[in-house]
Symmetry: C2
Amino acid sequence: MERLNISDHISRQFNEELENVRGQVLKMGGLVEEQMALAVQALVNGDAELAERVILNDYRINALDVAIDEECTRIVARRQPAATDLRLVMAVIKTITDLERIGDEAKRVARMVVEHLSGSVNDEVRQEMEHMGVLVREMLRGVLDAFARTDVDTAMAVVRADRKVDAKYGAITRQLMTYMAEDPRSIPMTLNILWAARAMERIGDRCQNIAEYIFYLVHGRDIRHTSIEDAELEHAREQARERESGQESE
Amino acid sequence: MERLNISDHISRQFNEELENVRGQVLKMGGLVEEQMALAVQALVNGDAELAERVILNDYRINALDVAIDEECTRIVARRQPAATDLRLVMAVIKTITDLERIGDEAKRVARMVVEHLSGSVNDEVRQEMEHMGVLVREMLRGVLDAFARTDVDTAMAVVRADRKVDAKYGAITRQLMTYMAEDPRSIPMTLNILWAARAMERIGDRCQNIAEYIFYLVHGRDIRHTSIEDAELEHAREQARERESGQESE
């Protein structure tokens, strides 16, 4: 019963806790973005020292992951959130898992630079990898922005952008296969570039996952196994419904 | 207040709901195990028809994933679970994400068989891939068993087994690199085998993730970023503590 009397206080505190969690997720996202950008930079410049730094800094992402996860479980246990609040907590728990694994992919790219990359990458491949890095970084930035503003339109744009990343990955794979065939001695090094390209392609997939959690957060619907076209239709319908109910209440 | 009067009824129903969720997870795990085994079989036998079946059946895993996820959110919202119950729900939410992605990896392997595998795999590679398939399947079975019995010892054995899978993956990679260098015309096909090996290595990683959630479920501690040795020490300490408190209460 006590709870009812202090419910204003509790809900204010609760809102602060949720806002704090959102802030932590964005902080984690910023770190992940930085790690990914540095890993790509280390790869295209063959900079082993920078790659070492990326590897060393991964623990910061992991620490945030564990801390946010614990905070979410604590909030569920103590605040018993419902509806949108609960969906936010669930979306955060999944989002940080993907962010943490994007960090792992960045570390994987960095490790390749440190352990296997003897000699520098040729200019053509360098440009392609740099471009793929830019595309993936745009996806990550976009999805963090969508999360910050709870914006489904931006999230859907991220889902669509994954197609560009997949196409780029396909083009790089074909190019690298030609190199290997032309110069078999280059196979070990070329394979490493291929693994790095694969890691970036996976980062794109994970950004798409996060975009899908944002859709779930806003509309309460799981679209992971739905086509982008169907999801966009549903989003448009939901928006129309909101506009209508907005007009009715005027 | 009504709730207190019917609390027995509620807790019995609640237990049934939790048991039902555990059962659904095991059902999903069984499906995933089957899909993975069939994908490996299709790969080593170059059986495109079987691979098509694996691709078609993936939707069953996805449907279970969505259903279990919704049920977990519903349980959190309505039952407001605490302590171990809450940890179970959280562990389930994460476990099904990894199971669903193991299903995706199986589908990926199957797709390679359908789209790219012209000609059969040579005997040596076939044996290696079959062996890797067996190792990964043992991990998946082990971790589902650990989940069914909430058994940390079995879960820790799964974490250790991942080292064998990683070593096998390394050996296969080296072998395939030699093939590519010796016969550049084999590069496209050999790369596909390499992707399949990579997919299986990732399945091993995901089994390890699930094993770590079981540790969390039992001991309430997140060991994803802890070494296996430290986690085993902690498990031993927790068991000793339980035995002591068991003797005290006798």
